[in-house]
Symmetry: C2
Subunit: 270 residues, 2 copies
């Protein structure tokens, strides 16, 4: 049923868990109750889990021969039902509560440490599926012009300033003005916010910049750009999206190119 180094995908929302699972031979596909994860792909073994019962999850993973886990895709911060806690989750609770109050990545780091403490190796999606990493050859459309490069630099300056605070994977700049900064709600919500900007404040077609935060644990919260991000950028009236090579995962390149062409968007990989 399993080899010596079987891997489990801890599936969050979106396409990333499927892209990671596709790069593995016979993975276990863990979905948490209420997390909105995608359905288990045919070649993987499904495993349903609850945050309240991490002890049970660890046992099930060991029993399935899993030695390595890959968290993939965003997960909502869970609301735990105290009546259902097993011993492992109960012991973890104080750390969990402290991490919840300490920034976007603190909780993820704590969860990684918990899996490591239970004897698992924790790998990032980019280790399992390095082809997902944005590379210069993945650029789509014309290179950004000088004004767009200036907007990219402005958005990057915002992200660099916020990075030590564990805030901000993405920002939008347009004609030198900052139209949005990603917070807990994520990139799609940022793009919806920009889309709602009154027309009188718009000065052309801006740029979305997405990048990793300094010191971000790329095993658990790798920034991604997928077709949905490009659709959102189009709705927000942007000219394109810029990422740093090797810092961001690209999902479904064929569909990315299709969406970019349809909406006259660029994807710059700098």
């Amino acid at each position: 049923m399993s080899g010596p180094a079987r891997t489990a995908v801890i599936a969050g929302a979106g396409q990333l868990p499927l892209a990671v699972a596709a790069a593995l031979e016979a993975p276990v596909f863990v979905t948490f109750a209420g997390s909105g994860a995608a359905p288990c792909p045919p070649h993987a073994q499904p495993l349903a889990a609850r945050f309240e019962r991490l002890g049970a999850l660890f046992e099930a993973l060991h029993a399935a021969g899993v030695s390595r886990v890959v968290p993939a895709g965003a997960m909502q911060r869970p609301v735990l039902d105290p009546a259902r806690l097993d011993a492992v989750t109960a012991d973890f609770l104080p750390q969990f509560q402290a991490a919840m109050a300490a920034g976007d990545d603190a909780l993820l780091r704590a969860v990684v440490a918990l899996f490591e403490g239970a004897g698992f190796t924790v790998a990032g999606p980019a280790e399992i599926a390095p082809d997902l990493l944005a590379a210069p050859a993945d650029a789509i459309g014309p290179a950004p012009d000088a004004a767009q490069m200036a907007d990219i630099a402005r958005a990057e300056a915002v992200l660099a300033a916020l990075s030590p605070l564990d805030v901000g994977q993405a920002a939008v700049a347009e004609a030198g003005l900052v139209l949005g900064i990603e917070t807990l709600q994520g990139t799609d919500a940022l793009l919806d916010f920009v889309a709602a900007t009154p027309a009188g404040l718009r000065r052309g077609r801006g740029v979305l910049v997405k990048r990793a935060k300094a010191g971000q644990d790329l095993r658990v919260d790798m920034p991604t750009i997928g077709p949905r991000s490009l659709e959102g950028a189009a709705r927000a009236g942007l000219a394109g999206v810029a990422v740093r090579a090797g810092e961001v995962l690209l999902l479904d390149r064929a569909q990315l190119a299709h969406v970019a062409a349809r909406h006259d968007l660029f994807l710059a990989v700098l």
Copy 2:
């Protein structure tokens, strides 16, 4: 018709122009076409203006005996009709275009310099109506508790990091997490964004912090909190609003207290 130091209020949107005019004896009340400014109060002399015809405005102000101007209230960046430019606006155009691309305050600073160059003194609302400045005695409701003080500190850290970039007068933090950062769209748009946060990401009732940017020219872009900001904070599910004493203008204190009481909000003046 006017004394030797007559003052003109350059009226932007909202209540601030009216609050400033109320502190002046016989002001001129300048409204720009399409700026959405409030109607001229009865004790003031109305003066309609166009951005394309700043030369005409300067002449009219001089003719009315005005030696001092007070910009009050946010103004949309204008779209200029090139066919209507007078000589003063035409000469200003290159500076104007450069300033438009250089951040929220750059345009305002350029406009201040233009008025100064035309022989006017430029004063801030707080000089004309110092009673509008938030003071510790203006606090409403219970003092923030330790968790709320931590959220205030987190939002202030975000604003301090962005301040050198001429971005961000306000931010919202809740249980240690950043739920929103003000960009060009302003505080109301920020609060609407926070209000739209999915319930699963909320962890209680956060705090809005508003403050001046470092180096911000407080004559032209003084941060304000009015009843509408508190209504927005209530809709966003927040526990309260925090400002620094002397850095923010409070509009309509009686209504502020009323709105705060109705929605169980605090206003902290730190």
